[in-house]
């Protein structure tokens, strides 16, 4: 099943690999022009390659001053609109709070939460004018459940859910929906960085008894970004194999 995104422009942050790549591919399969962002030139080139003419990759460091506004403004000029924004770019800097450095805290909050605020602010004006828009923010199951060693990440992801609800209420009347998808443990480079101990503990808690696939997150994102999901806003869809039911 693939939703139709013919004639639409989708912007996906952190699209080089993992979940972001699966999301960008789902939009491209639905006929959208997809702009996927990466932090490096080589990442952007890799995105252009897999998009295969249905858009392209571009370099964006979401924490660089002015970078987000500049990119969104260029895209608005080039395509005239952005229909879909997926805030997927995220990082982890795990450490027990006793040992956590300010830098580890700040970089996770900046990339995973502050950048979401900036991206949304940059695209919302155009969406409101068009009376149409779909914003999907990628959260995490740990934003709801907590996870030792990830106080920074959990705080950012929980913050993202509150942000999603507030913005959803602000702009619902303009035909713009804002939702979140909260993945559980998905088979990506990010979860490969977990320690064996973390991994074992996590597996015991997943009724589906496996990691999720990036495509399974993309399916939920694709649905929320589709036209037919227009009456769903401020919602978080949890995609976690049953590990947490909210």
């Amino acid at each position: 099943m693939s939703n139709s995104f013919a004639g639409q422009v989708a912007l996906v942050t952190g699209a080089t690999r993992g979940i972001g790549k699966a999301i960008a591919e789902a939009f491209a399969a639905g006929g959208a022009t997809v702009i996927g962002t990466a932090t490096s030139e080589s990442g952007a080139a890799a995105i252009s390659e897999y998009l295969n003419g249905n858009g392209r990759g571009c370099v964006l460091n979401v924490t660089a001053e002015g970078a987000i506004d500049a990119l969104v403004s260029d895209l608005q000029k080039e395509f005239g609109k952005i229909d879909i924004l997926v805030n997927n770019a995220g990082i982890t800097r795990d450490n027990l709070l006793m040992r956590m450095k300010d830098d580890e805290w700040n970089s996770v909050i900046d990339t995973n939460l502050t950048a979401v605020y900036k991206m949304c602010k940059a695209v919302m004006r155009g969406m409101m004018k068009n009376r149409y828009g779909r914003i999907v923010n990628i959260g995490s199951v740990v934003g709801t459940t907590g996870n030792p060693g990830q106080a920074n990440y959990c705080a950012a992801k929980a913050g993202l859910i509150g942000f999603t609800k507030a913005l959803a209420k602000e702009i619902a009347s303009r035909g713009v929906t804002v939702n979140a998808v909260a993945p559980g443990f998905i088979d990506t480079d990010m979860t490969k960085a977990l320690t064996d101990e973390q991994r074992e503990r996590i597996f015991e808690t997943i009724p589906a008894a496996r990691l999720g696939k990036p495509e399974e997150i993309a399916a939920a994102v694709s649905f929320l970004a589709s036209e037919q999901a227009g009456y769903i806003t401020g919602e978080t869809i949890h995609v976690n194999g049953g590990m947490s039911m909210v």
């Binding site: 004006r125 409101m128 602000e170 702009i171 009347s173 303009r174």
Partner: protein
Amino acid sequence: MSTIEERVKKIIIEQLGVKEEEVKPEASFENDLGADSLDTVELVMALEEEFETEIPDEEAEKIRTVQAAIDYINKHSA
């Protein structure tokens, strides 16, 4: 070249989706022209764009009528 008054009125008509005859000088955006808080923010942003100016929040809050908008722009545009 249209006057500031005409340009301001045009933006109000476009942003709020109201008729020209409704845009009287004393008309209040919220009470007479059916604007909600988001509409007034969008209106202020549209004025900023049209007149290439930045309207501070505390000034924007005072722009509640058609005349107030015209006065503000008259006073602050070069």
